[in-house]
C-alpha cells in the first residue's frame, strides 16, 4: 500500500518537479554562473570574476541612476497605491452599488498595460505643457508614477474590499458599544482586522514596484537623460541592446538580492502589526 502510494505521489510530482527544475531552477542557476562571465550574445564567453559587478557599481553611469529611480518610484508608488486602494475600498463598502464600483475600479488593472501607457502618453500630450511632462526631467518620473498608480490600485482595492466585507460583525459591534467611532475605530479596530490583507498587498506591491519596466519603457524610454531608467530596463538594455548577457545577469542578481532583503524585512516586521486571529 505504502509503495503504491509512493509511486503515485512520484508520478504526480514528477512533471512539476521537472518543469520547475528545467524552466526555473536551471535558468536561475545559469544566471548566477553567467554573471561571472563576459558573455556576449554573439561569440565566445570568458570568466571574469566580479568584473560585471564592479562595472555596474563603479563605471556604469546608468546603473546607480536606475537604482535611485527604482527606489524613488517604489517609495512614491507603494504608499499612493495602498492609500488610494484602501480609501476607495472603505468608501465603496457602504455603497449599494459596491459591485459596480469594484468592476469600474478594477478595469485598469485588467487592461493590457501597454495600451494603458499608450493612452496616457496621448493624455500627457494633450496637457500640452512646454516641455511635455514626460520630456522634463523634473516631472517625468512623477508622471510615470501617476500612470502606474492609476493602473495598479484596482487589484489592491479588490483585496481590501474583500477583507473589509469579511470583518467580523460582533467585533465591530463590540467596538461601537465601547464608543469607538471615526478615526479611532479605523485605526484600532478595522485596520488591525484587515492587517493580513494589508500585509499581502504591500509585500506584493513592493515587489512589482521594484520590477517596474513596461510603464517607463513605453512612456519615456528611460529619458530624458536617465531620469526614468529603472533596474529592469537596465537589465533589458544590457541583455538585448548591448547583447551583454553576463552584465544583464549580474544586474538581475542585484535586483533579486534587493527584493529578497526588502521582502525578508517585511516578513520580520509583520510580527509587530499583522494579526491573523479574528
Amino acid at each position: 500500500m505504502r509503495t503504491r502510494e509512493t509511486w503515485s505521489a512520484l508520478g504526480f510530482a514528477t512533471p512539476s518537479v521537472l518543469g520547475l527544475g528545467l524552466f526555473t531552477l536551471f535558468p536561475v542557476g545559469m544566471a548566477v554562473v553567467m554573471s561571472f562571465f563576459n558573455w556576449p550574445m554573439l561569440g565566445g564567453s570568458e570568466f571574469i570574476g566580479l568584473d560585471n559587478f564592479r562595472y555596474l557599481f563603479g563605471e556604469d553611469p546608468d546603473f546607480l541612476a536606475a537604482l535611485r529611480n527604482t527606489f524613488v518610484f517604489t517609495g512614491l508608488y507603494v504608499p499612493l497605491n495602498i492609500l488610494l486602494a484602501l480609501g476607495l475600498a472603505f468608501w465603496i463598502s457602504n455603497s449599494r452599488w459596491q459591485n459596480l464600483w469594484r468592476v469600474l475600479f478594477f478595469i485598469p488593472a485588467i487592461t493590457p498595460m501597454v495600451a494603458n501607457a499608450v493612452i496616457f502618453k496621448l493624455l500627457f500630450q494633450l496637457v500640452g505643457t512646454e516641455p511635455n511632462l514626460l520630456a522634463d526631467g523634473r516631472t517625468a518620473l512623477l508622471s510615470v508614477v501617476a500612470m502606474s498608480v492609476w493602473q495598479g490600485f484596482g487589484y489592491n482595492m479588490i483585496v481590501f474590499s474583500a477583507a473589509i466585507n469579511e470583518m467580523p460583525k460582533p467585533v465591530l459591534e463590540a467596538a461601537s458599544l465601547d464608543g469607538a467611532t471615526g478615526l479611532r475605530r479605523l485605526v484600532s479596530v478595522q485596520l488591525p482586522l484587515i492587517s493580513p490583507a494589508l500585509f499581502f498587498a504591500t509585500t506584493m506591491t513592493v515587489i512589482t514596484a521594484l520590477q517596474v519596466f513596461t510603464q517607463p519603457y513605453i512612456l519615456t524610454a528611460g529619458g530624458p537623460g536617465n531620469a526614468t531608467e529603472t533596474l529592469v530596463m537596465n537589465v533589458y538594455q544590457a541583455g538585448f541592446q548591448s547583447r551583454d548577457l553576463g552584465l544583464a545577469a549580474a544586474a538581475a542578481w542585484v535586483l533579486f538580492a534587493i527584493i529578497l532583503v526588502v521582502t525578508f524585512v517585511q516578513f520580520l516586521g509583520q510580527k509587530r502589526w499583522v494579526h491573523y486571529e479574528s
Binding site: P61, P131, A221
Partner: protein, 418 residues
Amino acid sequence: MKGFLAAGLALILGATACGGGGASGTAGGAKQDDGTVTLDWEMWAGSEDEKAQLDHLAKLVTQQNPKIKIALRTAPFNDYFTKLQTEFAAGKQACIVSMQSLRLGAYADLLEPLTAPEGFAPASLEALKMGGKQLALPYDLASMLVYYNKDAFAKAGLPEPKAGWTVADFEKAAKTLSTGGKAGFGMSFSDLHTLSLLLSYNGAAPVTQDVKLQLDSQPMVDALTWYAGLAKSKSGSVPASSAEGGWGETQFVNGNAMMAVDGSWNLGSHIKDAKFDVGLAPLPAGANGSKTYVAGSGFGVAKSCPYKAEAIKVVETLTGKDAQAYLAGVGRGFPSRTEQQAGYEEFLVKQNAGKAADVKAAMGAVREGLAGGTPLFTTKNWDNVNKLMAQYFLQVYTGAQAPKDALATIQQQGARGQ
C-alpha cells in the same frame, strides 16, 4: 560552459520542436535524399500582404533553381533583430539572413562575404559593405528627404523648397510656418532623421572612417547646437518623450508640423495618408551642399550555412532583375537595381491617381538625394547609441542640458562595446 547552456537549450527545444524528418543537415538548411536543398530564409514582414510578397519571391527562387526550396520564417520588423540575434546565439540561424544597413555592424563577423553582380546602384552596394567586404546584396535603397506641407507654404506665401535650397531658407520657412499652435518643423532624435540633417548642415559625422564613435567632435557639437536652436526659437516641435521615435514624421502627417525629415521609404504612404498636398525636397544645403545618409536592406548568407553555394544562388535570385521588377511593381521600396527604379515610380503614379506631378517631383528629389548620399556606417552597439541619443538629445532640445555635455555623455557610454 557555453556547451552546457547549449545542451540545456537543446533539451528544452527538443521537447517542443520536431526534427527534420528524412533529411540531413545542420542549422539553416537541409538536403533531401533526392538532392533538393531546403534553405531557411529569415525576413521581416508586418502584414499578410508583405508575407504574400515574400512567398512569391520564395516560389521564384524554386522556379529559377529547381533544386532549391525555401523555408520562409518571418517576424515583425521591431522584433526581427531581437529574434535574429537570439537565433545566432543559439546556433539556430537561417542560411539566408535579411539585413538592414544600419544593423550590419553587429553581424559583420557572422556573414559570408559575397561578390556583387552588375546592375546595382553603387550607393546601395556601398551601404551593405563593411571593412571592404560585401556582406549582403541590396534589394532596396533609401535616402532622407524633407517632406513639406504644400498648402502651408502656399498660404504663407513662401517659395517651395527645391534642389539647391539652403539651411537659411529652411530656418526662415520653419520660423514663418510656426504659427497658431503649429510648428514649422517636426524634430527628431532618430539616427537617420537627425544625423542626416546634421551632416547636411556642416558635414558632422557621428563615426570616424574606421567606424568609431566621435559624437563629441566639434562639428557634432556645432551641428547639434544649431538643431536644438530650432526648439529654442520655437520653430521646431520637440518630441513629447524619449519614447517618441517617429515624432517628426507623425506630427507632419497629422498636420501639426509643416516640415519633417523622413526616409524615401515613406513616400507612398505619406502622400496617401496626409490630408494636404505633400511636397518633397532634398535636405537643405549647408556649407558643403545638400547631403544625406542613405540606408538600404538586403540579403546575406550566414557563415555557418552548410550549403553556401546554393544560398548564394538564392540571394542572387532574390536581388535579381525579376525579383526587383516584382517588388517595384508592388511598391515595396525604391529598387537597388537602377534598371527597375522606373517601375517603382509607375507604381506610385498608379497608387496616387491625380497626383502624378507630385510623385514625379518627389522621385526627382529622391534621385537628387541619392546623388549626394553617403552610407551611415554604424558601430556594433548602435542600438545602444540610438537609445542614448533618444534620452540625451531630448534634454538638449528642452534646454535642460548643453549639447556639448549631452554628446560627451553619449560618447562616454557608447564607447563600451563599439
